[in-house]
Amino acid sequence: MKKTGSEIIIDTLLDEGVDTIFGYPGGSVISLFDTLYNFSDKINFYLVRHEQAAAHAADGYARSSGKTGVCIATSGPGATNLVTGLATAYMDSVPMVAITGQVASKMIGNDAFQEVNITGITYPITKHNYLVKDVKDLHRVIKEAFFIARTGRPGPVLIDVPSDVQKASCEFKKITNVEMRSYNPTIKGNIKQIQKAVQMILHAKKPIIYAGNGVIISGSQNELKEFVEKSGIPVTMTLLGLGGIPTDHPLSLSMLGMHGTAYANRAIQESDLIISVGARFDDRVTGKLDEFAPHAKIIHIDIDPTSISKSVNVDLPIVGDAKGVLKELNKIIKKCDIKNWVDYVSDLKKKYPLSYTKSDKVIKPQFVIETLYDLTKGDAIIVTEVGQHQMWTAQFYKFQKARSLLSSGGLGTMGYGFPAAMGAQVCNPDKLVVDIAGDGSTQMNIQELATVANYQIPVKVLILNNGYLGMVRQWQDLFFDKRYAGTCLGRQKNCKPVCAGPDKKCPDMIPDFKKVAEAYSVKGYRVDDPKDVKSVLKEVISIKEPVVVDFRIEQEENVLPMVPAGAPLDKMLEHGLS
């Protein structure tokens, strides 16, 4: 049977089980959108208000479910607007397929209207990409794209389809099996290496498990829990590994790294064996590399060989999917004889707990997060933007389950949270989805209030509003002599040139988020008094529609503990600089 390129695209998407697409139309995807229009009973299309949001929404959809997210944009600016979303997904290994329109084949290279070489631009930020110049290749390419996106170490794949290819037609025959001679990711860990690992583990006196996003992606939280409990080894998590094991598990040390817990950082520095599962020794985790865990040997389980020995030297690499490797480990692992070490680590937990100065006069951001946890008990999908609020969330929300935290860990993309929350909510209509945001990040994709209002996507946006780009302000406070250059979001024309903090004369914050929400027909709240935090949160959670809450928080609250950039993990600031 003959089909047009657009029909082949939609057919192949359906074949891949796609039922949700986020996107934005334009000149070179008109025919694709026209075909999509015929399938509105099978595919829910969400019109966002900026292509970047389409990419983040597809990302949130994927992270919350493990399915592959799909977004569509037009050529030129539509395609370049996807770039940040693709880079975000690439850094955090999110399975995603982005389809972009391209100018007609014969115009490519002519600087045509809305032409950009998007495959060239996205080489370094996609797992793979395609420019399809022949309609006959379209079905195979899309099948390959999904195969590549979701297998091995997942990642985004972009398919660029010129407008004439969408209109051209050819004989259509379904491929059932995707085979690629040049792409065969290693899934199964080498059994000899696994046996060696067990020997190393049983001989260690101070072992620690360091779990990352790979645990979440491979769906191995049960296997990890079994491994932790069978061996009795304490476990710490990266930001994206949170939920890999319940934060309040007796052997959990919560998050490590720059804003990790003091006990996790101290424990890993003193350990003699690190068992890394699906983590990549990111610089925000290791601190000063030369002084990272100086006494530890390292076992590194990762599906991506390029992650191994990239920043730290690994003593025993195991290339393979975390789930399979953990299963094999669990077959032969025994209880480790490490009572002294576990007692010592438990003492560290008691000695250096996460804490903050409570207040009944001003809202403390940590208090908002704690209250949210008390009200939800971990049964929610928490999405964050990037900055202080992200770290407070990681520290004070006790994540219980995998895929309950969606956050831009690698790229650190402000503006990620709100559209990603949208995607997660669409994928999980019955779950509570909360975007914890800052006043800076919120404004980077605030236009999506229109999308959540139109489609009644009941995302809850909690803005921890301190009037600053807080994370940078914190660095200025600690390391730049309180010179708040470019970080005050309330700064106006008649402010004095140098300002070292807020006072009563400061002008009102712009915008008024409650009013902004209301302008978009979204319910808005403003909370100034700590006494109201719980009741408002309770009310907001019960509302089955989108809500924005503007929490006016302590303006100069810092995220602590903190490992200054370039310092070793055990040189933490626990109470600020004295």
């Binding site: 495959t119 060239g120 080489y123 370094p124 797992k127 793979h128 420019l131 590549i148 690629m180 001679r181 040049s182 792409y183 991506d304 060989p305 390029t306 191994i308 020995s309 990239k310």
Partner: protein
């Protein structure tokens, strides 16, 4: 240290850009690169020579393998192999110097492929070291133009 990789890749548009991007993204200069079809016309072979340290090259090798369009990466740096390069040289040659140059060319078992009243074009094939030596010998006469293909390489089985 100089590293030499022989890389089998899918023979289609964009593959060269992906491969070279890996090197440039890490700030490494490719000293020589040759690409051509293999016995299978759907596969091309790239021979890449690059300077760098071991740790980085290890990473580059893995990154090359990670590229979807790369079928196989062979590190030829420390294996017995045959290495060849072709060079064309346009050299000043007057009536007085011509015979001297021809003598040098003969010693290097190279060929004169073009003669004009005041210049010669020389074709030389060989190991990079030989080519470098030839260039050094011809330099005093004045090299007007020089084109090198870059190395191609094949592992030897004993």
């Amino acid at each position: 240290m100089k590293y030499l990789f022989s890389v089998l890749v899918e023979n289609h548009a964009g593959v060269l850009a992906r491969v070279s991007q890996l090197f440039s993204a890490r700030g490494f200069n490719i000293t020589s690169l040759t690409v051509g079809e293999t016995e299978d016309s759907t596969i091309s072979r790239m021979t890449i020579a690059v300077d760098g340290d071991e740790r980085v090259m290890d990473q580059v090798k893995k990154q090359l393998n990670k590229l979807i369009d790369v079928i196989k990466v062979v590190d030829l740096t420390n294996v017995p192999q045959v290495e060849r390069e072709l060079v064309l040289l346009k050299v000043n040659a007057t009536r007085q110097t011509r015979s001297e140059i021809i003598e040098i060319v003969d010693v290097f078992r190279s060929k004169i492929v073009h003669v004009a009243s005041n210049e010669l074009i020389i074709e030389a094939v060989g190991h990079m070291i030989k080519i470098d030596a030839l260039i050094k010998m011809l330099k005093p006469y004045g090299i007007k133009e020089l084109a090198r293909t870059g190395q191609v390489c094949m592992a030897r089985t004993e």
